[in-house]
Subunit: 184 residues, 2 copies
């Protein structure tokens, strides 16, 4: 019953992602993942060093996309920056909705204290706020960040309408007119 390496490995990641998103990281045992993936718990630990390694590999694509987005936003300023940040983050949230669910649910050390470090504050927040230090712009940016993330997995659908309207609502919240495509 020895499969090619990638097969079971991918199945484990699929099962883990679904179970982590549904019940949380801590609430999901290795046995739960193994049962869902159709293998033994020991087999999990053959493919992954430990439980955290599964989570790390699961969130790697999300982190990668986050880094890309950060790089894309770096040279921008003003309204084009905000628009790119909004569309980029909405698309990322929709593409990685389950991964975001896992992040929000069960990693207080990662998500809950994001803001506790004013210096290490999310670059994405800065971009959404148009690199403004005004607490009012920051508040709106936080609202958009959290709202989009929650909507991505809590809203019943993920079709094009949701994407479009999330972008529009986010731009309105940030004080930008959604119906003015070119720059200001």
């Amino acid at each position: 019953m020895a499969r090619p390496r990638a097969a079971l490995r991918g199945q484990i990641l699929n099962s883990a992602l679904r179970l982590f998103a549904a019940h949380g990281f801590r609430a999901t045992s290795l046995q739960d993942i193994a049962s869902d993936a159709g293998c033994s718990k020991a087999s999990l630990l053959y493919h992954f060093a430990n439980k955290d390694a599964i989570l790390t590999e699961l969130l790697a694509p999300l982190r990668r996309r986050g880094s890309e987005l950060r790089a894309e936003l770096a040279p921008l300023t003003g309204e084009p920056l905000v628009r790119a940040a909004v569309t980029g983050f909405v698309d990322m949230a929709l593409a990685f909705r389950y991964e975001l669910t896992v992040l929000f649910h069960d990693l207080p050390g990662t998500t809950g204290h994001l803001a506790a470090d004013p210096d290490h504050d999310l670059p994405l927040i800065a971009s959404l706020a148009g690199r403004s230090d005004d607490p009012r712009d920051r508040a709106a940016a936080w609202l958009v960040l959290g709202g989009v993330a929650i909507s991505a997995y809590a809203a019943p659908t993920t079709d094009a309408v949701l994407r479009e309207e999330l972008i529009r609502a986010a731009l309105r919240a940030l004080g930008h007119d959604p119906d003015r495509p070119p720059s200001s």
Copy 2:
């Protein structure tokens, strides 16, 4: 060392709220709470039937306020409804920021499936959307709901500026003009 009943009980609730918000419900053991509250684990279970009972009592005020808000919004319609829903929810989120943190962090069965509970949270979504069934209004309502909740605990401050700007950003997201206090 027998204190009046309310003393240690309140201390336990204080410790539990802080620890649950900081590390999550599951990640906080009864021993953690007992140590923080300055008593034994057995003493916890003298005052509370079990771990869930602590959580239930901890979230009771939040639930009560939610019911009140729902009742207040019931007779309203149109723009006054949306304004009342926004201000009511922002104030509730700021007043119960730690409780909301607990809810968001570690209760996928409660928070992750908010949308699956038509009785409890859909009324608030409906109110924020002005009782519209348009998916676009619903999307904006979801963004506001999640964004305010996240902002309440993730934003570094909870002063009047944050409150005011959360309300304004939420109203903008929902397509209403924050600078027009009277009804439409």
